[in-house]
């Protein structure tokens, strides 16, 4: 064998077989050097160990994006409590167990066919407007003398139906599904509307829903959906 030691200068391309390259202890047909094999195994094991705690932790952090919030109908009054001309303020709970921080306000009235042009169905005999301003989420206040909803933060103004009159809001006020159940008025999950009052799954404030807006701000996986019953 000694006289067959390959000359590196004339050999050209190295053989991929370690036996051809005269490696001590090389097996016949072996193509991966032990140094390279140890490198890959050690770094691979380190990578697996790092992923073993990183991936569950990341999934843990983003989990809430994919778990749908449960929702139940909340009774807010009887049919006699509401009329077409004035808004009644009702406190409803959107997050359980954290006291006032989980409450929000719905401005409620009876549907008035003379002004409410959107098609009527079983969920809008009573109109429930969210107090969340559609600019950046501050709470709007209904000023009955002006028949306007006014936001204290950046000057958003909405008319009696919750349509944008002035200021930076990008869409009309969000609404809640309502229903009449055994003579009681109940409030369900939130939904968003565009300028034609078409219903969309709830979007955050600041996200327009007209035209291309509904595609720029896709629906989320964790918002409450209308209970089937």
């Amino acid at each position: 064998m000694e006289d067959q030691v390959p000359d590196r200068h004339t050999e050209g391309v190295k053989s991929k077989y370690t036996a051809d390259r005269q490696m001590p202890g090389a097996f016949e047909g072996e193509t991966v050097t032990r140094r390279r094999f140890m490198n890959v195994v050690t770094q691979g094991a380190g990578g697996v160990a790092a992923m073993a705690f990183t991936l569950p932790a990341l999934a843990f952090a983003v989990g809430p994006l994919f778990s749908r919030e449960p929702f139940s109908w909340q009774t807010v009054g009887t049919t006699a409590d509401f009329d077409e001309l004035t808004y009644v303020t009702k406190v409803i709970t959107v997050v359980q167990g954290i006291g006032n921080a989980g409450n929000t306000i719905a401005y409620m009235r009876k549907r008035d066919p003379a002004i409410d042009t959107e098609p009527e169905d079983q969920y809008n005999h009573y109109i429930a407007l969210s107090s969340r301003c559609m600019h950046l989420g501050c709470p709007v206040r209904y000023v009955s003398a002006a028949e306007r909803f006014i936001c204290p933060c950046h000057g958003g103004v909405y008319d009696f139906r919750g349509m944008v009159v002035s200021g930076p809001p990008v869409r009309p006020l969000d609404r809640f599904y309502t229903r009449v159940h055994n003579g009681l008025v109940q409030v369900g999950p939130r939904y968003s509307v565009n300028f034609e009052l078409h219903r969309f799954s709830p979007r955050d404030p600041g996200q327009p829903l007209n035209g291309i807006g509904q595609y720029l701000y896709p629906k989320r996986f964790d918002t409450s959906i209308l209970p089937k019953n």
């Binding site: 809430p64 955050d204 404030p205 600041g206 720029l216 964790d222």
Partner: protein, 270 residues
């Protein structure tokens, strides 16, 4: 002032400084060993860790002519961060991230009842504003002095990352008192995140831990504020300081380049 001649005292009577190892066999007396205990301990540690060379590399380095007080803004920002870290750790001993009233109550306890609580909280609260101001002044100094240019671009990029992380600290920390102001400011801030097309809705869901502002929103902000970002900031400050020491600091732009010196001198001065 003329000096009086020394009095003619015989040499044997002159006070002599004590020689080390007065106990005869050349080893230090207990008193001498005690007096040098600090040096002994530092030497013992340094013999094993060999850190003194690195410390000398970090602290005893050459700086260009003409540096001035503007060059201290980076250190000032770092000490503002250290102030935030120390006061923040001790505020965390009293704070409770409880959205159903406990957070506000714990802040009230820190401010009104805890001994020196108002001081420590004020140091953290005002220190946050000081850090933001200092980091912007530091960035302005680097920008207007042209100190971001080759070979210091990576130092600048890390500095911008530190600026963004510092602003994120301000955003997440603002919610923690959980009063009306911090609650609504966070609502607005989260919704601003939501206005980014395509990923905005999911980004705001991530920040809120759900579609609505809930109990875990506060604890999520708290965890980001006191564990995730401070660790990143500390690591990036380390990288920033390493680059500053490795590359040296830049001369102020008004300083003219010095005349070419003799080649044999140039070699030794670099």
């Amino acid at each position: 002032m003329p000096k009086f001649p020394a009095p003619p005292i015989p040499k044997a009577l002159l006070p002599q400084p004590k020689r080390p190892g007065e106990n005869g066999n050349g080893t230090p007396t207990p008193l001498e060993a005690g007096a040098e205990a600090g040096i002994t301990v530092v030497d013992w540690v340094d013999e094993r860790m060999q850190l003194s060379g690195g410390l000398r590399w970090l602290l005893f380095r050459k700086v260009p002519k003409g540096i001035n007080w503007f060059y201290t803004l980076g250190s000032a920002t770092m000490f503002a961060f250290l102030n935030q870290a120390v006061t923040g750790v001790f505020l965390a001993m009293y704070y409770r991230p409880d959205a159903s009233g406990g957070a506000y109550e714990s802040i009230r306890y820190i401010t009104d009842d805890a001994f020196l609580g108002q001081t420590v909280r004020a140091m953290h609260k005002w220190g946050a504003s000081v850090m933001i101001i200092l980091i912007f002044l530091h960035m302005a100094r680097v920008f207007f002095f042209g100190a971001y240019k080759y070979p210091r671009e990576l130092t600048w990029i890390i500095g911008v990352t530190l600026l963004i992380l510092t602003l994120a600290m301000g955003f997440t920390g603002y919610l923690l008192p959980f009063d009306q102001q911090s609650y609504w400011a966070s609502i607005v801030g989260i919704n601003i995140n939501g206005t980014g097309p395509f990923i905005g809705p999911y980004l705001s869901d991530f920040l809120r831990a759900g579609p609505e502002f809930g109990a875990t929103t506060l604890s999520r902000f708290y965890a980001i504020h006191m564990m995730l970002i401070p660790g990143l900031i500390a690591a990036l400050i380390g990288a920033h300081l390493y680059l500053i020491t490795k590359l040296g600091i830049s001369a102020p732009p008004w300083l003219k380049a010095v005349e070419e010196e003799a080649p044999e001198l140039r070699e030794t001065q670099v």
